[in-house]
């Protein structure tokens, strides 16, 4: 019941979470670290109590739009964080947040949360591994961008960031929705206009997914044109971090996979167009993995995906 209730609140937050936060509604989720479904106080005592066996390597897991940390749970129990703890000695930190807020807002909040966590972590920290699913990956990129600007301490501990089903170049369905909503708004019919207004109620978080907006200045340049990719993404993947990208493709037909991807994120968007910076092919092919026959949500809790994540982490050990 508890998990279902949290999921319902997560869905509500993803849908209209910006409104809930703006109106001070008690259903708005504050960004927090959770363990066993309960929030953790980010203080030395709180973290020591929650993680009596804290290690020097931490993996931070951020869920996607309308999810909670439960999205990581495999059907037979366990999740990527638990497995990384078992296999490689990472301490898993699950982030829960209001996915309806603008991605830059969540990014800034995550950056502050991680700074506080690093300050209060019970043992000396050596590594922070970032693992983001879908929108969670964009929130992490936004947090990294903010941390780089403000020279936050935690960014120096990040060696690797793994993005699972993250729409680096935006989500075309949201862009289609945006265009339809704009067209409907100018139709001189009260019922169509009402439909447009209802459509426009979708949260800032959903709207940001359209062009993968990581900064507030990016949000101001929303485009009306329909496009499957945003070739002028202004925030490149940070060069000081090794980035690993996982995308899904429901179809084994390459053309269908390119367009529909995992049903929500097209393959070019999930793989950042194979670019670490605009105009360059800087992502090594071994840092990108496309799982054929896998839908978007499955990417967050699949044994094969975990094997890939572990392989990357182990491979990097010796690098």
């Amino acid at each position: 019941m508890g998990k279902k209730l949290e999921l319902a609140v997560g869905i509500l937050n993803g849908t209209i979470g910006d409104y809930l936060a703006r109106t001070g509604n008690g259903l708005a989720t504050a960004m927090q670290l959770v363990a066993n479904g309960q929030p953790i106080a980010v203080t030395r005592e709180g973290l020591a109590r929650a993680f009596p066996a804290a290690t020097s390597r931490v993996v931070v897991l951020a869920h996607g739009l309308m999810n909670t940390e439960d999205v990581w749970t495999l059907p037979d129990g366990g999740d990527y964080g638990v497995f990384l703890a078992r296999d490689l000695g990472f301490t898993p930190l699950y982030v829960r947040y209001n996915s309806g807020l603008a991605i830059p807002d969540n990014g800034a909040e995550l950056a502050r949360l991680l700074e506080g966590t690093v300050e209060a972590w019970p043992v000396p920290l050596e590594e922070l591994l970032l693992l983001g699913f879908s929108m969670g990956g964009l929130v992490m990129r936004s947090a990294c961008h903010r941390a780089a600007l403000e020279e936050m301490r935690w960014l120096g501990l990040v060696r690797r960031a793994i993005y699972v089903g993250t729409p680096h170049l935006g989500a075309p369905y949201e862009r289609v929705g945006r265009v339809l909503s704009r067209l409907a708004a100018v139709v001189p019919d009260p019922f169509v206009r009402l439909a447009a207004q209802i459509g426009d109620l979708r949260s800032d978080g959903i709207k940001d997914l359209g062009d993968a907006d990581l900064r507030h200045e990016d949000r101001a340049r929303r485009r009306a044109a329909l496009s499957l990719r945003d070739p002028e993404h202004p925030v490149p993947l940070l060069p000081g971090i090794r980035h690993y990208l996982i995308a899904g493709a429901l179809s084994t037909d390459p053309r269908l996979a390119m367009v529909f991807g995992d049903a929500l994120v097209p393959v070019p968007s999930g793989t950042n167009g194979l670019r670490a910076a605009p105009g360059t092919l800087a992502l090594p092919p071994r840092h990108v993995k496309i799982f054929a026959g896998m839908g978007h949500m499955t990417l967050a809790h699949d044994p094969h995906v975990y094997e890939q994540i572990r392989e990357w982490c182990e491979e990097d050990e010796g690098a």
Binding site: V9, L20, T23, N25, G26, L27, A28, P190, F191, R193, L194, Q197, I198
Partner: protein, 98 residues
């Protein structure tokens, strides 16, 4: 505490939903009726009585929706108050128990 906060949030959300829906439906209702009224109000002979009907119609529609919003605000305020009282009682019981 977290549950009480969420319950009050849910109540506030229900109030907001009724409020916004009522305003949107009112606007659609008025805009839809505006078309035939506008046509009739240009026809000599029926323009004057149509205008009177138009004014009465709009006032009635707005009045009904205002009543809906007022009642929902009253109900929500009552429920919110009841939740706060229950919360305070629970806090008192917890204090006595400890």
């Amino acid at each position: 505490m977290k549950d009480a906060k969420r319950w009050r949030g849910l109540v506030a959300l229900v109030r907001d939903t009724i409020e916004h829906t009522s305003r949107a439906v009112e606007r659609v209702h008025l805009d839809t009726a505006e078309r035939p009224f506008a046509i009739l109000e240009k026809i000599p002979g029926v323009a004057q009585p149509t205008h009177i009907v138009h004014v009465v119609h709009d006032a009635t529609v707005s009045g009904v929706h205002q009543i809906v919003r007022a009642v929902s605000r009253g109900v929500v305020t009552t429920v919110d108050l009841a939740l706060r009282v229950a919360e305070q009682q629970a806090d008192k019981d917890a204090d006595h128990g400890s």
